[in-house]
Symmetry: C2
Subunit: 187 residues, 2 copies
Protein backbone atom coordinates (compact mmCIF):
# COMPACT_ATOMS: atom_id res chain seq x y z
CA UNK A 1 0.00 0.00 0.00
CA UNK A 2 1.02 3.60 -0.51
CA UNK A 3 0.73 6.37 -3.04
CA UNK A 4 2.78 4.33 -5.55
CA UNK A 5 -0.28 2.08 -5.86
CA UNK A 6 -2.11 4.95 -7.54
CA UNK A 7 -0.11 4.37 -10.72
CA UNK A 8 -0.72 7.02 -13.37
CA UNK A 9 -3.26 8.77 -11.16
CA UNK A 10 -0.30 10.15 -9.15
CA UNK A 11 1.75 13.12 -10.33
CA UNK A 12 4.77 14.90 -8.88
CA UNK A 13 6.02 18.30 -9.93
CA UNK A 14 9.64 18.80 -8.90
CA UNK A 15 11.03 22.33 -8.90
CA UNK A 16 14.79 22.55 -9.32
CA UNK A 17 17.38 22.87 -12.04
CA UNK A 18 16.16 20.14 -14.40
CA UNK A 19 13.00 19.17 -16.26
CA UNK A 20 11.51 20.01 -19.65
CA UNK A 21 9.59 23.01 -18.35
CA UNK A 22 11.59 26.23 -17.95
CA UNK A 23 10.21 28.66 -15.37
CA UNK A 24 9.24 32.03 -16.84
CA UNK A 25 7.84 33.43 -13.61
CA UNK A 26 6.93 32.23 -10.14
CA UNK A 27 5.04 34.42 -7.70
CA UNK A 28 2.80 34.18 -4.70
CA UNK A 29 -0.69 35.42 -5.44
CA UNK A 30 -1.73 34.89 -1.82
CA UNK A 31 0.03 33.49 1.24
CA UNK A 32 3.46 32.00 1.71
CA UNK A 33 5.72 31.93 -1.38
CA UNK A 34 7.43 28.91 -2.91
CA UNK A 35 11.22 29.10 -3.50
CA UNK A 36 12.23 30.24 -6.98
CA UNK A 37 13.52 27.53 -9.28
CA UNK A 38 14.78 27.40 -12.86
CA UNK A 39 12.90 24.37 -14.10
CA UNK A 40 10.06 22.01 -13.24
CA UNK A 41 10.20 18.27 -13.91
CA UNK A 42 6.98 16.24 -14.12
CA UNK A 43 6.84 12.63 -12.93
CA UNK A 44 3.87 10.34 -13.32
CA UNK A 45 3.17 7.23 -11.29
CA UNK A 46 5.73 5.60 -9.10
CA UNK A 47 8.75 6.79 -11.11
CA UNK A 48 10.75 8.24 -8.25
CA UNK A 49 13.01 11.13 -9.07
CA UNK A 50 16.60 10.89 -7.94
CA UNK A 51 17.01 14.44 -9.20
CA UNK A 52 17.67 17.17 -6.67
CA UNK A 53 14.74 19.51 -6.21
CA UNK A 54 13.97 22.52 -4.05
CA UNK A 55 10.36 21.47 -3.68
CA UNK A 56 8.05 18.71 -4.84
CA UNK A 57 4.30 19.02 -5.14
CA UNK A 58 2.20 15.87 -5.47
CA UNK A 59 -1.38 15.35 -6.53
CA UNK A 60 -3.87 12.69 -7.51
CA UNK A 61 -6.36 12.48 -10.35
CA UNK A 62 -9.66 11.75 -8.60
CA UNK A 63 -13.34 11.51 -9.44
CA UNK A 64 -15.22 14.67 -10.42
CA UNK A 65 -16.72 16.72 -7.61
CA UNK A 66 -18.75 19.56 -9.11
CA UNK A 67 -19.26 18.90 -12.80
CA UNK A 68 -22.80 17.80 -13.67
CA UNK A 69 -23.74 15.53 -16.57
CA UNK A 70 -24.54 18.18 -19.23
CA UNK A 71 -21.35 20.06 -18.33
CA UNK A 72 -19.41 16.80 -18.44
CA UNK A 73 -20.71 16.12 -21.93
CA UNK A 74 -19.77 19.59 -23.11
CA UNK A 75 -16.31 19.25 -21.57
CA UNK A 76 -15.78 15.89 -23.24
CA UNK A 77 -16.72 17.34 -26.61
CA UNK A 78 -14.60 20.47 -26.36
CA UNK A 79 -11.58 19.75 -24.21
CA UNK A 80 -8.06 19.30 -25.57
CA UNK A 81 -5.62 16.65 -24.38
CA UNK A 82 -2.37 17.48 -22.59
CA UNK A 83 0.98 17.32 -24.43
CA UNK A 84 -0.14 18.82 -27.73
CA UNK A 85 2.92 19.81 -29.77
CA UNK A 86 1.84 23.44 -30.10
CA UNK A 87 1.13 23.84 -26.39
CA UNK A 88 4.59 25.06 -25.39
CA UNK A 89 3.34 27.21 -22.51
CA UNK A 90 2.06 25.90 -19.22
CA UNK A 91 0.92 27.17 -15.84
CA UNK A 92 1.10 25.29 -12.56
CA UNK A 93 -1.15 26.97 -10.01
CA UNK A 94 -1.23 25.31 -6.57
CA UNK A 95 -4.17 26.49 -4.49
CA UNK A 96 -5.24 26.03 -0.88
CA UNK A 97 -8.69 26.88 0.39
CA UNK A 98 -9.77 27.98 3.87
CA UNK A 99 -11.27 25.84 6.63
CA UNK A 100 -14.51 27.78 6.04
CA UNK A 101 -14.64 26.33 2.50
CA UNK A 102 -14.10 22.78 3.68
CA UNK A 103 -16.74 23.16 6.37
CA UNK A 104 -19.34 23.91 3.72
CA UNK A 105 -21.45 21.03 2.48
CA UNK A 106 -21.06 19.76 -1.08
CA UNK A 107 -24.17 21.60 -2.34
CA UNK A 108 -23.05 24.85 -0.70
CA UNK A 109 -19.63 24.50 -2.34
CA UNK A 110 -21.21 23.72 -5.71
CA UNK A 111 -23.46 26.80 -5.38
CA UNK A 112 -20.45 29.06 -4.85
CA UNK A 113 -18.27 27.20 -7.38
CA UNK A 114 -20.67 27.23 -10.29
CA UNK A 115 -23.95 29.05 -9.63
CA UNK A 116 -22.19 32.16 -8.30
CA UNK A 117 -18.65 31.90 -9.69
CA UNK A 118 -19.31 30.10 -13.02
CA UNK A 119 -16.03 28.22 -12.65
CA UNK A 120 -16.98 25.45 -15.09
CA UNK A 121 -18.75 27.72 -17.60
CA UNK A 122 -15.80 30.15 -17.67
CA UNK A 123 -13.35 27.29 -18.16
CA UNK A 124 -15.40 25.88 -21.05
CA UNK A 125 -15.21 29.24 -22.88
CA UNK A 126 -11.45 28.77 -23.26
CA UNK A 127 -11.62 25.24 -24.65
CA UNK A 128 -9.95 23.80 -26.62
CA UNK A 129 -7.22 26.49 -26.53
CA UNK A 130 -6.36 25.92 -22.90
CA UNK A 131 -5.98 22.26 -21.87
CA UNK A 132 -6.44 21.65 -18.17
CA UNK A 133 -5.91 18.94 -15.56
CA UNK A 134 -6.81 19.08 -11.89
CA UNK A 135 -4.88 17.13 -9.26
CA UNK A 136 -6.14 16.71 -5.69
CA UNK A 137 -3.63 17.10 -2.88
CA UNK A 138 -5.54 17.82 0.33
CA UNK A 139 -6.07 14.23 1.44
CA UNK A 140 -2.48 13.11 0.86
CA UNK A 141 -0.91 15.50 3.36
CA UNK A 142 0.25 18.14 0.92
CA UNK A 143 0.62 21.87 1.63
CA UNK A 144 -1.92 22.72 -1.10
CA UNK A 145 -5.45 21.39 -1.67
CA UNK A 146 -5.20 21.33 -5.47
CA UNK A 147 -2.63 21.58 -8.21
CA UNK A 148 -4.11 23.02 -11.37
CA UNK A 149 -2.17 22.52 -14.58
CA UNK A 150 -2.82 24.31 -17.85
CA UNK A 151 -1.20 23.97 -21.28
CA UNK A 152 -1.62 26.35 -24.22
CA UNK A 153 0.09 27.70 -27.31
CA UNK A 154 1.91 31.06 -26.98
CA UNK A 155 -0.75 32.82 -29.07
CA UNK A 156 -3.34 31.92 -26.41
CA UNK A 157 -1.38 33.46 -23.54
CA UNK A 158 -3.59 36.53 -23.36
CA UNK A 159 -6.73 34.38 -23.35
CA UNK A 160 -5.28 32.39 -20.47
CA UNK A 161 -4.51 35.60 -18.51
CA UNK A 162 -8.12 36.59 -18.98
CA UNK A 163 -9.35 33.23 -17.64
CA UNK A 164 -7.13 33.48 -14.57
CA UNK A 165 -8.20 37.08 -13.90
CA UNK A 166 -11.86 36.14 -14.21
CA UNK A 167 -11.57 33.24 -11.75
CA UNK A 168 -9.59 35.26 -9.20
CA UNK A 169 -12.38 37.78 -9.18
CA UNK A 170 -15.08 35.28 -8.20
CA UNK A 171 -16.77 34.61 -4.87
CA UNK A 172 -15.10 31.17 -4.88
CA UNK A 173 -11.67 32.84 -4.74
CA UNK A 174 -12.53 34.52 -1.42
CA UNK A 175 -12.02 31.05 0.03
CA UNK A 176 -8.47 30.76 -1.36
CA UNK A 177 -5.89 31.43 1.32
CA UNK A 178 -2.73 30.38 -0.52
CA UNK A 179 -2.04 30.48 -4.23
CA UNK A 180 1.19 30.35 -6.23
CA UNK A 181 1.35 31.14 -9.92
CA UNK A 182 4.11 29.38 -11.89
CA UNK A 183 4.43 30.08 -15.61
CA UNK A 184 6.44 27.72 -17.77
CA UNK A 185 7.72 27.26 -21.31
CA UNK A 186 8.85 24.16 -23.12
CA UNK A 187 11.74 24.69 -25.57
Amino acid sequence: MGLEQLGDRLIRFAGGSSGVWRVLAIRSVRGEALPAVERVAVYRGSGVSSVESKWTLSGVISNTRYVERPEQQELTLKQAPLSRGEATRAALIPVRKTAAWWNLTQEERRAIFENKSHHIAEGIRYLPSVARQLYHSRDIGEPFDFLTWFEYAPQHSEAFEELVRTLRDTEEWRYVDREIDIRLARD
Copy 2:
Protein backbone atom coordinates in the same frame (compact mmCIF):
# COMPACT_ATOMS: atom_id res chain seq x y z
CA MET B 1 5.33 15.89 2.59
CA GLY B 2 3.53 12.58 2.87
CA LEU B 3 0.59 10.99 4.63
CA GLU B 4 2.22 11.66 8.04
CA GLN B 5 1.46 15.34 7.42
CA LEU B 6 -2.23 14.53 7.77
CA GLY B 7 -1.80 14.22 11.54
CA ASP B 8 -4.92 12.97 13.30
CA ARG B 9 -6.84 12.86 10.01
CA LEU B 10 -4.89 9.66 9.17
CA ILE B 11 -5.85 6.28 10.62
CA ARG B 12 -4.34 2.83 10.26
CA PHE B 13 -6.06 -0.42 11.21
CA ALA B 14 -3.51 -3.20 11.65
CA GLY B 15 -4.80 -6.79 11.69
CA GLY B 16 -2.56 -9.25 13.55
CA SER B 17 -2.13 -10.68 17.01
CA SER B 18 -2.19 -7.46 19.05
CA GLY B 19 -4.43 -4.46 19.62
CA VAL B 20 -7.33 -3.66 21.94
CA TRP B 21 -9.97 -4.97 19.55
CA ARG B 22 -10.48 -8.74 19.51
CA VAL B 23 -11.88 -10.15 16.28
CA LEU B 24 -15.23 -11.91 16.71
CA ALA B 25 -15.74 -12.59 13.02
CA ILE B 26 -14.21 -11.65 9.71
CA ARG B 27 -15.85 -12.51 6.42
CA SER B 28 -15.98 -11.40 2.85
CA VAL B 29 -19.41 -10.07 1.90
CA ARG B 30 -18.31 -9.56 -1.70
CA GLY B 31 -15.02 -10.06 -3.54
CA GLU B 32 -11.60 -11.12 -2.36
CA ALA B 33 -11.30 -11.99 1.34
CA LEU B 34 -8.89 -10.51 3.87
CA PRO B 35 -6.69 -12.91 5.90
CA ALA B 36 -8.15 -13.89 9.27
CA VAL B 37 -6.51 -12.26 12.28
CA GLU B 38 -7.03 -12.40 16.04
CA ARG B 39 -6.89 -8.71 16.84
CA VAL B 40 -6.98 -5.28 15.26
CA ALA B 41 -4.82 -2.38 16.48
CA VAL B 42 -5.81 1.19 15.68
CA TYR B 43 -3.18 3.88 15.09
CA ARG B 44 -3.90 7.56 14.58
CA GLY B 45 -1.60 10.06 12.93
CA SER B 46 2.01 9.39 12.22
CA GLY B 47 2.51 6.88 15.06
CA VAL B 48 4.10 4.09 13.08
CA SER B 49 3.48 0.59 14.27
CA SER B 50 6.49 -1.65 14.76
CA VAL B 51 4.02 -4.41 15.53
CA GLU B 52 3.80 -7.30 13.10
CA SER B 53 0.54 -7.35 11.17
CA LYS B 54 -1.00 -9.51 8.46
CA TRP B 55 -2.61 -6.50 6.85
CA THR B 56 -2.89 -2.76 7.36
CA LEU B 57 -5.73 -0.63 6.09
CA SER B 58 -5.31 3.15 6.01
CA GLY B 59 -7.82 5.94 5.59
CA VAL B 60 -8.21 9.69 5.88
CA ILE B 61 -10.90 11.83 7.47
CA SER B 62 -11.96 14.17 4.68
CA ASN B 63 -14.62 16.76 3.97
CA THR B 64 -18.24 15.68 3.63
CA ARG B 65 -19.38 14.59 0.18
CA TYR B 66 -23.12 13.89 0.29
CA VAL B 67 -24.54 15.29 3.53
CA GLU B 68 -26.57 18.47 3.05
CA ARG B 69 -26.96 21.24 5.62
CA PRO B 70 -30.23 20.09 7.32
CA GLU B 71 -28.88 16.52 7.51
CA GLN B 72 -25.59 17.85 8.85
CA GLN B 73 -27.45 19.72 11.59
CA GLU B 74 -29.45 16.65 12.52
CA LEU B 75 -26.30 14.51 12.57
CA THR B 76 -24.51 17.03 14.78
CA LEU B 77 -27.40 17.01 17.24
CA LYS B 78 -27.84 13.26 17.40
CA GLN B 79 -24.50 11.60 16.79
CA ALA B 80 -22.41 9.96 19.50
CA PRO B 81 -18.64 10.29 19.82
CA LEU B 82 -16.25 7.36 19.39
CA SER B 83 -14.63 5.69 22.43
CA ARG B 84 -17.68 5.72 24.71
CA GLY B 85 -17.05 3.41 27.66
CA GLU B 86 -20.17 1.32 26.98
CA ALA B 87 -19.41 0.89 23.26
CA THR B 88 -17.44 -2.33 23.58
CA ARG B 89 -18.46 -3.66 20.16
CA ALA B 90 -17.17 -2.37 16.87
CA ALA B 91 -17.38 -3.15 13.17
CA LEU B 92 -14.77 -2.31 10.58
CA ILE B 93 -16.28 -2.59 7.11
CA PRO B 94 -13.92 -1.79 4.21
CA VAL B 95 -15.80 -1.18 0.98
CA ARG B 96 -14.77 -0.72 -2.64
CA LYS B 97 -17.12 0.60 -5.32
CA THR B 98 -17.11 -0.11 -9.04
CA ALA B 99 -15.68 2.05 -11.83
CA ALA B 100 -19.29 2.66 -12.89
CA TRP B 101 -19.92 4.39 -9.54
CA TRP B 102 -16.85 6.60 -9.85
CA ASN B 103 -17.78 7.55 -13.41
CA LEU B 104 -21.07 8.99 -12.17
CA THR B 105 -21.19 12.71 -11.47
CA GLN B 106 -21.56 13.98 -7.92
CA GLU B 107 -25.29 14.68 -8.31
CA GLU B 108 -25.92 11.22 -9.82
CA ARG B 109 -24.06 9.63 -6.90
CA ARG B 110 -25.99 11.72 -4.38
CA ALA B 111 -29.28 10.70 -6.06
CA ILE B 112 -28.46 7.01 -5.64
CA PHE B 113 -26.85 7.47 -2.22
CA GLU B 114 -29.67 9.38 -0.55
CA ASN B 115 -32.73 9.92 -2.74
CA LYS B 116 -32.94 6.24 -3.69
CA SER B 117 -30.97 4.46 -0.97
CA HIS B 118 -31.63 6.75 2.02
CA HIS B 119 -28.12 6.10 3.30
CA ILE B 120 -28.01 9.19 5.54
CA ALA B 121 -31.62 8.92 6.76
CA GLU B 122 -31.19 5.24 7.64
CA GLY B 123 -27.95 5.98 9.51
CA ILE B 124 -29.60 8.76 11.48
CA ARG B 125 -32.31 6.38 12.71
CA TYR B 126 -29.65 4.44 14.64
CA LEU B 127 -28.14 7.49 16.37
CA PRO B 128 -26.90 7.84 19.02
CA SER B 129 -26.73 4.07 19.65
CA VAL B 130 -24.31 3.41 16.80
CA ALA B 131 -21.36 5.83 16.56
CA ARG B 132 -19.81 6.03 13.14
CA GLN B 133 -16.71 7.37 11.39
CA LEU B 134 -15.93 7.26 7.69
CA TYR B 135 -12.36 7.17 6.38
CA HIS B 136 -11.51 7.75 2.71
CA SER B 137 -8.93 5.45 1.12
CA ARG B 138 -9.38 5.61 -2.64
CA ASP B 139 -7.06 8.51 -3.31
CA ILE B 140 -4.18 7.24 -1.19
CA GLY B 141 -3.61 4.06 -3.18
CA GLU B 142 -5.46 1.66 -0.88
CA PRO B 143 -7.24 -1.55 -1.94
CA PHE B 144 -10.58 -0.21 -0.62
CA ASP B 145 -12.34 3.09 -1.33
CA PHE B 146 -13.66 3.56 2.21
CA LEU B 147 -13.20 2.20 5.69
CA THR B 148 -16.36 2.49 7.73
CA TRP B 149 -16.03 2.16 11.48
CA PHE B 150 -18.92 1.67 13.91
CA GLU B 151 -19.00 1.45 17.72
CA TYR B 152 -21.93 0.34 19.84
CA ALA B 153 -22.88 -1.29 23.13
CA PRO B 154 -23.63 -5.06 23.08
CA GLN B 155 -27.34 -4.41 23.60
CA HIS B 156 -27.45 -2.54 20.30
CA SER B 157 -25.93 -5.38 18.29
CA GLU B 158 -29.26 -6.38 16.77
CA ALA B 159 -30.03 -2.78 15.80
CA PHE B 160 -26.66 -2.61 14.10
CA GLU B 161 -27.35 -5.83 12.15
CA GLU B 162 -30.58 -4.28 10.96
CA LEU B 163 -28.78 -1.14 9.76
CA VAL B 164 -26.20 -3.19 7.86
CA ARG B 165 -28.89 -5.40 6.28
CA THR B 166 -30.88 -2.33 5.22
CA LEU B 167 -27.89 -0.67 3.56
CA ARG B 168 -26.78 -3.83 1.75
CA ASP B 169 -30.22 -4.03 0.23
CA THR B 170 -30.08 -0.59 -1.39
CA GLU B 171 -29.46 0.46 -4.96
CA GLU B 172 -26.21 2.07 -3.77
CA TRP B 173 -24.89 -1.35 -2.78
CA ARG B 174 -25.18 -2.62 -6.36
CA TYR B 175 -22.10 -0.50 -6.95
CA VAL B 176 -20.10 -2.26 -4.22
CA ASP B 177 -17.69 -4.80 -5.69
CA ARG B 178 -15.66 -5.66 -2.60
CA GLU B 179 -16.75 -5.62 1.02
CA ILE B 180 -15.30 -7.21 4.13
CA ASP B 181 -17.17 -7.36 7.42
CA ILE B 182 -15.02 -7.43 10.55
CA ARG B 183 -16.74 -7.60 13.95
CA LEU B 184 -14.78 -6.70 17.05
CA ALA B 185 -15.06 -6.60 20.85
CA ARG B 186 -13.07 -4.63 23.39
CA ASP B 187 -12.48 -6.46 26.67
